[in-house]
């Protein structure tokens, strides 16, 4: 169609810049059909659900509305279009709902925890106190998460310290050495990413705690966390290493670089941002794990800053323990700890998105800005010397 318009234009006019015709996939008829079906379904649903049928409950209302909506939409669409087009549009609408549904569930979970948890985190004592002073019937103003926060951060640091070097080395093995022998390793890493998290805790309990004799502690818990984080780091890091351009490796080899120099000085630095993302994502997963910590960290109501001796508590463990108490104040504390946990996950997640996400070698906004600054400075200097 764009070409038709171009040829009909009188030749005397100077040809305007060749702007591609914007093809809109959504027409007014589409929109009216959609809105009409939604409104009609809502009306019928209200009549049926609230007046005719003996149902109740918000969830059921919206499920019924959705079913009615699909029926309405299909029938209105089949009045206007042929069978194939109707099929296409109905599928599009149905699939789009699932996208909206996923968004709604995530937002709901985060918001629900944040709203319920706010009742706890607005008390400053919640941040500064441990549970040492809180009895079973203490109000929310007494007792807090200071010990759990310290425990979580220490366990996370230790487990990151243990899992990241091993995970990245395994990823480099898969991506750089490879070969036939690497295939089973990759399969097992894939399989381990969704291994039950409680098994890691059970293994550390059976091996490190009961057999070797290391007492239950933050350190034992970090070992269990490291086992769950290792495959996540390895998997994500391998994906990143694979998209490092092969030409960079070849250039390094051509300059006489050995393999270890190529990996350490070319491949890894090129993939730096992606690797950082892999690490931070694994940390976001590790920080929320309850089951591995549950079996081997013990549970402490008081501050213990030494992860190598005595029992420690992490935030998820604190939440798990508080939610099982029958007292309302304990439930509020549990949601408060959930609040902090979600905030920590969100922070880690935002960091991961900020530093990575791009392809290797692609510059971040800050790097681009720095290069632009250097460019400008050079140009100014050049102008000054010329003038």
């Amino acid at each position: 169609m764009a070409t038709d318009i171009a040829t009909e234009r009188p030749a005397t006019q100077p040809p305007a810049a060749d702007v591609p015709l914007r093809i809109r996939s959504v027409t007014a008829a589409d929109m009216v059909t959609l809105v009409g079906a939604a409104a009609g379904a809502l009306a019928l649903d209200w009549v049926l659900y609230e007046r005719v049928l003996p149902f109740s409950g918000a969830l059921g209302f919206w499920v019924c509305w959705y079913v009615l909506f699909l029926v309405f939409y299909t029938s209105i669409a089949s009045l206007q279009w042929d069978r194939l087009a109707v099929q296409d549009k109905v599928v599009q609408v149905a699939l789009s709902t699932f996208g909206v549904l996923a968004t709604a569930i995530v937002i709901d979970q985060v918001a629900y925890t944040l709203v319920r948890g706010f009742a706890a985190v607005r008390h400053s004592t919640f941040w500064t106190q441990t549970m040492a002073s809180a009895g079973p019937l203490s109000p929310i103003t007494v007792g807090g998460i200071a010990h759990a926060l310290v425990g979580t951060l220490e366990m996370l640091a230790l487990s990151t310290f243990m899992s990241v070097p091993l995970g990245i080395a395994a990823a480099v093995y898969l991506a750089e050495v490879g070969g036939r022998a690497a295939r089973p390793v990759r399969t097992l890493v894939d399989a381990m990413t969704s291994l039950p998290d409680i098994i890691a805790g059970l293994f550390i309990l059976a091996f490190i705690v009961l057999t070797i004799g290391v007492p239950k502690s933050g350190f034992a818990a970090s070992l269990a966390l490291a086992i769950t984080m290792l495959p996540i780091v390895a998997r994500a890091a391998e994906t990143v290493l694979r998209i490092v351009p092969g030409t960079l490796r070849e250039a390094s080899y051509a300059l006489g670089g050995s393999q270890w120099r190529t990996v350490l000085m070319v491949v890894l630095p090129t993939a730096r941002s992606g690797l950082a993302t892999a690490v931070v994502l694994a940390m976001a997963r590790g920080i929320g794990e309850t089951a591995p910590v549950l079996l081997v960290a013990g549970y402490s109501r008081v501050m213990n800053v030494n992860p190598f001796a005595n029992w420690q508590t992490s935030l998820p463990l604190y939440t798990y323990d508080e939610i099982q108490s029958p007292e309302t104040a304990d439930h509020i504390r549990a949601f408060g700890a959930g609040f902090v946990l979600i905030i920590l996950v969100l922070i880690l997640f935002t960091i991961a998105r900020r530093i990575g996400g791009g392809t290797p070698g692609e510059l971040t906004r800050r790097q681009r800005r720095r290069i632009a600054r250097q460019d400008a400075a050079l140009r100014r200097m050049a102008e000054r010397t010329m003038g």
């Binding site: 099929q87 381990m192 291994l195 059976a206």
Partner: protein
Amino acid sequence: MPSEAQTQVMPAVPDDTPRTIVARPSTGDKIFRGILRASGWSVFVITGLILVFLILRALKAFKFMGFAFLTTSAWITQSPQHFGIAAILPFGVLIALIAMIIAVPTGIAIALYISEYAPPRLRQPLIALIDLMAAIPSIIFGLWGLFFLMPRILGFESWLGRHLGFYKPSPALASNYANSTFIAGVVVSLMVIPIVTSLSRQVFSQAPQGEREGAYALGSTRWGMIRTVVLPFGRGGVIGATMLGLGRALGETIAVTLIIVPAWHFTFNMLQSGSNSIASRIAVDFSSYPDPRSMGLSALMAAGLVLFAMTLIVNTLGAVVIGRSRSGQATG
């Protein structure tokens, strides 16, 4: 190629074969590769150690109960000892199956929406959202399921029970439906959806552009193109993603533990209050046995071993299928 060209010009040189090049890695490279190989194979060492130590710790329980460990549906670890996984294993499998029935179609639908329908502007945020869903701690899923979802889903459950006709408690109280296998399954499904979605989205987006355009050129609608190009291309990935998701669902611990109340007689009646699973049994029970030599701890290790073996098999099969479908990334 160059050798061919030369032989054509100068046939007098008959055997102009390329030199065989032998790459001899330097000592540094050998050490480097050794370290990398050791790190790579460490996952096998870890898996092997898990197996060995769970078996060692479980021997006592296996010796005591023998084959009856698989057929007993009780968990009495004080004398007279009588325990087995005949109730908790099928309950856990049922939870996982409910989760999969919900999560697989939903996950595929979300993946298709993201890779095929979403406006390009929304695509990256949606991918981030699914990643975030995977990173939400399971304890949060547990809290949400227990306090937000459960009160709201009871009405739906009783409706299901009445109209599908398989569960009609005599006084139709809401408490008869609370803490049921079904609710646990729904919550676990939400934890499986991100796994299914992100893995199948990856394979869907790899569907070859040429074949997509071919389908359009033959007059296909978008859905027709998806049905004939994207879905067949992504089948392997979807199957693998489903199996990895199943592994996750079988082993989910904390959310399930918070939602269910323990039950000891297996029933297919998923709406009935009370359920169980191996993972949640371990999480609840481990603290009752401070003595490392106790039968109770050994029984938990045995149950854990069964869970581990089961999920390892399911996950490995899934990973093999995923690895095959990821043909573009085959080990080179």
